[in-house]
């Protein structure tokens, strides 16, 4: 790879990089290509560790008409991802060794790394704990009932307590059902005018606060999924300052869309938690820019077209994220003023740590995700071209579904090249 800015653990450096036999073999200025080598000219581009998505709904098993592990992996590659964490709200939920093994096996047939988040409770019902220790033995490092939060405080405390010695991280979808009710958009004047029931910011914040208090009593580690409000971010920031092992993610859509997108009742903009006020969007962007957010995570949620061709309150929540996340993160970080180190931090190194694919700069087990771009490390690399302009074509997405809210939007910056496990899997935006 020549001509690019390399994003290393020690900052951005202008240098060439040689990959051989699946590992980064050499980094230095003006490397001479060997005879049998392919030279990727990446002038003006950034090269850093492959992106890691903490929050992908791959829909398999049970939702194969919306996405499969294979199609989700292809969408991930186009988006620059070399590792995805598959969410467990499949049908059936990933709550046993057999089901986790199935997803891991299918994932191993893709060119990238597919990790699995197991469910905290059996069938994600929020009642009886799922066999977390057995799943942890398969390498599961994250557990969540995502899609809904664990509503019962007693169950959540028990789960945190049980998970602590396993060394795994619980991840919570924070929305209190009793406050959410039948809500479908952000609670407030717009929802009232549209005649749509609201999901309040309070529903999220009250559970964030509750879980921080629970974690203080149990110890262990906890990740907050798709935070969407200014106050949630503040609560997590304070908990970190207190020394609690908490992490958080925000989604590209909560960073780039506000509730006004729902004013035409287009179900493509329906998502949980809902798109919030422009003030919340501003606060999320500011926190991201200041490095208070551990990860940008997609909450990639494919839905077959027919399911979105319904009335707003009847349509399922969720939108596609993998193929647009990098451009949107770049946008949220200010495009021309975007710090490439921070960019790779929230898309790769941060999420790799949360998912325990990496501790500090040492790979955990065989994983080499979110790495430091150092010689000897397995090559999982993503090149991002910050200058290219492109238009989102919903029909050209790799995902089986096409429920992107960004159709026809002009984006700046795009992933050009991905090397996964030492293999060139995306070149000039084209799957290899």
């Amino acid at each position: 790879m020549t001509g690019a800015t390399l994003i290393t653990a020690n900052g951005a450096v202008e240098a060439d990089l040689r990959v051989r036999d699946g590992v980064v073999r050499e980094i230095g200025p003006a490397l001479t290509p060997l005879e049998d080598e392919l030279v990727l000219q990446l002038e003006g581009q950034w090269v850093g560790p492959g992106f890691v998505d903490l929050h992908t709904h791959l829909r398999e098993p049970g939702g194969e008409s919306s996405e499969t592990i294979a199609s989700g992996a292809r969408a991930g590659i186009v988006g620059g991802y070399t590792a995805l964490v598959a969410m467990p709200n499949t049908e059936p939920a990933l709550d046993t060794v057999a089901l986790v093994s199935f997803v891991l096996a299918e994932g191993a047939r893709t060119p990238i790394s597919i990790a699995v988040a197991g469910s905290i409770t059996q069938n994600r019902e929020g009642q009886q704990l799922a066999p977390m220790a057995e799943m942890a033995q398969l390498g599961v490092r994250v557990f969540t009932d995502d899609g809904s939060g664990v509503q019962n405080a007693g169950v959540m405390r028990r789960a945190l307590s049980y998970a602590k010695p396993l060394g795994v991280r619980l991840a919570q979808h924070c929305e209190d059902d009793s406050l959410v009710g039948s809500g479908v958009v952000n609670e407030g004047p717009l929802a009232e005018s549209l005649g749509l029931s609201g999901r309040s910011t309070l529903a999220e914040e009250i559970m964030v606060q509750r879980d921080i208090d629970l974690l203080r009593s149990t110890g262990g580690s906890l990740h907050f999924l798709h935070l969407s409000t200014a106050r949630s971010i503040e609560l997590v920031k304070n908990a970190k300052a207190e020394g609690l092992d908490v992490t958080c993610e925000v989604t590209p859509h909560h960073l780039t869309l506000d509730e006004s997108a729902c004013a035409t009742y287009d179900p493509l903009f329906k998502v949980h938690p809902p798109l919030r006020s422009s003030l919340d969007v501003f606060a999320l962007r500011e926190a991201l820019g200041r490095g208070h957010i551990d990860a940008v995570a997609t909450d990639h949620a494919p839905h077959a077209p027919e399911s979105k061709d319904r009335a707003f309150d009847e349509a399922p929540a969720g939108l596609l994220g993998l193929e647009t996340a990098a451009s949107l993160t770049y946008e949220a970080l200010g495009q021309s003023s975007c710090d490439p180190v921070l960019f790779y931090s929230v898309l790769s190194r941060g999420p790799a740590r949360v998912a325990q694919l990496r501790a500090n700069d040492n790979p955990v087990g065989l994983s080499a995700q979110g790495g430091a771009l150092q010689v000897g490390e397995a090559a999982n690399l993503t090149a991002f071209d910050p200058s290219v302009q492109w238009r989102v074509d919903a029909s050209a997405l790799q995902s089986r579904a096409s429920n992107t809210p960004y159709a026809d939007r002009v984006m700046i910056g795009r992933v050009s090249t991905v090397i996964s496990k030492g293999v060139l899997v995306l070149r000039e935006g084209v799957l290899q």
Binding site: Y265, D266, R310, A311, F312, D313
Partner: protein, 326 residues
């Protein structure tokens, strides 16, 4: 801002100008006479096809719309969707596409989901869509017939020609709307119509049934219900929608009646000339006392009669002049 609904959809009253509303009310006046003839039919929409799609149970609005369409000589395709394709799992887009394939000029749509009419208007841009009530969002023809009924009644009393009066009878008119504002599409359409026409609107009800942002709709909260009754020229009562589970927003129905029902005692606080309205169907004994509902101040039956000429006006304006697509 929409200045006329000629050839346009009618989805909401929020974006209709005063002129657009007055145009509909005036057109409706001319159709009142048709409804008084022995042969109640004009050829205005002869050869046009109106599909009446009710995804939600309704007898009154549906009868009113279909009567209006037939009196304009339109062919009416009436589909009881609530009991057919939806239960078989068909998407909204497919249901509309199927009906559209039969060759239609307009859709009258009732749906339990807010925004359904706007979505349908995107699915079939060449078809005119008239919203006959979408979830908790809008019920535009109800708002129009309520405004029509107020103007007609006040004009009659003062010996004025309603058409010539334009919007003047609404200027400074004091309207109180009582009850479940939060879940009511009628309230949203009424408030839009009245405030656009120049009336002053206050709302009253239990706090759990009031929207927080009513000021942005151009209305204000009445701090004291009894005082507001003394203040009002028109009192619009809303149905406590027990079928939507709104009972859980108040402790008991009896307590609702005690605190916000228009009882005989409260009705005696009203100005002698004040009008009492209700979009129906009424919960007699809950939001309104039976005798009050049948009393001289109530114009509730007039509202029902006016539904037909107002809906004739809406269908006529919306469809006439519309070029055939394809």
């Amino acid at each position: 801002m929409i200045e006329t609904i000629r050839g346009q959809n009618l989805l909401s009253l929020n974006d209709l100008s005063k002129d657009a509303i007055i145009e509909i009310l005036n057109e409706a006046e001319s159709f009142v006479e048709v409804n008084e003839r022995a042969i109640k039919k004009v050829p205005a929409l002869k050869g046009r096809v109106v599909a009446s799609l009710f995804f939600e149970e309704s007898t009154r609005t549906r009868l009113s719309f279909e009567t209006a369409a037939k009196r304009l000589s339109a062919d009416v395709l009436s589909l009881a969707v609530a009991s057919s394709s939806v239960k078989k799992g068909e998407s909204l887009r497919d249901t509309i596409a199927t009906v559209d394939a039969l060759g239609i000029d307009a859709v009258v749509l009732r749906h339990a989901s807010s925004g359904a009419a706007e979505q349908v208007s995107r699915y079939v841009p060449h078809v005119r869509v008239v919203n006959a009530g979408d979830g908790q969002h809008q019920h535009p023809t109800q708002g129009l017939l309520d405004a029509f009924t107020i103007r007609q009644t006040l004009a009659e009393r003062r010996g004025l020609d309603p058409i010539a009066s334009g919007a003047t009878l609404f200027e400074g008119l004091k309207v109180l709307i009582v009850g479940d504002i939060r879940h009511s599409r009628v309230a949203r359409s009424d408030i839009a119509a009245y405030t656009t026409l120049g009336a002053e609107v206050r709302v009253a009800g239990p706090p759990t049934l009031l929207p927080q942002s009513v000021a942005q709709w151009g209305a204000t909260l009445a701090p004291n219900f009894e005082e507001a009754l003394r203040w009002a020229d028109v009192v619009g009562l809303l149905r406590l929608q027990r079928e939507r589970g709104t009972e859980s927003f108040v402790p008991t129905l009896n307590e609702y009646t005690t605190t916000f029902g228009l009882t005989q005692e409260r009705a005696s606080l009203l100005k002698p000339g004040a009008l009492i309205m209700h979009p129906g169907p009424m919960n007699r004994g809950v939001e309104v006392d039976s005798k009050v509902a049948d009393g001289p101040q109530a114009i509730i039956r007039r509202q029902v009669s006016n539904g037909v000429p107002v809906r004739m006006a809406v269908l006529y304006l919306s469809i006439a002049g519309l070029g055939r697509a394809k």
